[in-house]
Symmetry: C3
Subunit: 226 residues, 3 copies
């Protein structure tokens, strides 16, 4: 358990980057729903900080940094303002939101696992906390915009990179090999897995219904989502 993360001062930078790209994806979803500027800010806040707030509540860190640290709130709101001012044309949004989401997923599931481990949570709880940090913001974004969470029905693998990233971080920690470099490598692995799944349309198998019309229907709706 001799973790050797050399430069914890860089930790907030990693976390704030995750908040920023997560909040961008929230702001973009809000723009697409034609929310007003304040709705955009609220959704950017919820998407960028929601996963971390869930993590902190679950591991007993209150108040969570997502409501107590002005830097986190300012970064999330900044992302909302950026998306408000420079939102791309709507037809480009669908792809961009997925890539931003992949970046936030990667940064969050590694940093979330790490934070839980540092606070003394067991390995199982830390992996769970990391996964929830990674997917929580996106789930909140989708619920608040009236969508079924993308993590659930997205046939392009979404949960797998999160699980891989959280487990990888926990294993590195237990082995005492968690440095800024290996943590960064874990982030890259998660992001790469997710983007590869999007790019090559890697699909997780659907339920074994054996009902042909149902399969066809599912594939059709899947295509509409992406």
């Amino acid at each position: 358990m001799n973790h050797v993360l050399p430069d914890l001062a860089l930790m907030p930078v990693i976390e704030l980057s995750g908040v920023f790209v997560g909040a961008l994806s929230g702001g973009l979803a809000a723009v697409r729903k034609q929310f007003d500027i304040f709705g955009i800010l609220v959704l950017a806040w919820a998407t960028g900080l929601g996963g971390g707030i869930m993590r902190d509540v679950l591991i007993g860190v209150t108040p969570p940094v997502g409501i107590a640290d002005w830097r986190f709130i300012a970064v999330a709101c900044l992302a909302g303002v950026v998306m408000y001012l420079f939102n791309p044309r709507l037809e480009r949004a669908r792809r961009m939101i997925l890539v931003l989401d992949a970046g936030a997923l990667a940064l969050f599931c590694v940093s979330g696992t790490l934070k839980a481990l540092e606070l003394g949570a067991g390995a199982v709880a830390a992996v769970s906390a990391g996964i929830i940090t990674g997917i929580g913001g996106g789930v909140l974004r989708d619920l608040l915009t009236g969508e079924v969470p993308v993590v659930l029905h997205q046939r392009q693998l979404y949960a797998v990179p999160a699980v891989v990233g959280a487990v990888l971080t926990a294993v590195l920690w237990v082995l005492g090999s968690l440095t800024l470099f290996t943590a960064g490598a874990a982030v890259v692995v998660v992001f790469g897995l997710r983007v590869a799944a999007l790019r090559f349309r890697l699909q997780a198998p659907g339920p074994w219904t054996g009902v042909s019309w149902a399969h066809r229907g599912a594939r059709r709706s899947g295509r509409m989502v992406l």
Copy 2:
């Protein structure tokens, strides 16, 4: 307050049974929505463990067993896998999901109240925690699949058995009569109430609008839900 529960070692068995049947109902809902295997696992986890996680967060037990105890997570995922492999033909699902849900409701509202009492919560908080444990997973399942929670619009009584089970457990505790036998009886009472409500179509009264078309519309949508 001299509780005489003889065999607390059996407590996890009761809880794990609730997790398993709750997670089955979540997995089934995911199958019906044509989620992929990972969506099924996530929804099984959320449905089976969501109520308990809410309870633990509300009574200050962090990290909740639902994210920290690998047995609970494994049982929920096992239920997801079972539902993935052996999901019944879709037309049978509607009734089965309701009965599974009744079982989880019964097990959860009794064990949730009991856990809160054991941890020193007051009777009111324990009853609330028990009700939330009972209905929380199903609410989460419905929100995550884009449905209005069944506990709210379900005219076949749903909240009543949960309240009865939680109050009964708290009363037995205060009377010092809570044994494995009486706890089991409380579970049976809740399950029986819920199944009877489903079987005999016991209906809670709707709002007193006096608008005849509204009543008819409500009854019609109620029929569609079941």
Copy 3:
């Protein structure tokens, strides 16, 4: 930090008033959705107490008063029963729900900020907690009834009064000027801002898409919401 709130005994009265009007708005939404009496009670409870429960969980007060204090639960249920028995004709509901919501917003964001400050939260966390207390119940109401939260897409300003109220309360606290009178004035300011926004259709700007049909569509859907 020398707060001079003279009569903290009145604090519960302010909070209970907020719970009552918040729960009325929840009960009304449930009536409009033709939920049964128990669905109405659950939604009244969730709307009236949801914001405060979120606040308590976020600032580490467990169990939250919303599940532990029978007076709060009784007041929320009473509001549900009142709405069940005396629900106005449905066509009047849309306006009334908005005014009730404004009252709850005002009471909650001031009392929520105050409670967090009293418990030692920093100013940023207290402002966040106050905003969440103010908008949390309404968000929960909208999610549970399958609507996109009104705080997000409501072009008539909603988040602004909450932010103003929470910041005002925190500033008064830091200045040592927070008395029952100034707290009441803050409540009036928030309520007035919100009602003025509704009355005069003050609109926050939507995203800068430059796509004319999108703007028109948004305005049209906004009109439908109100």
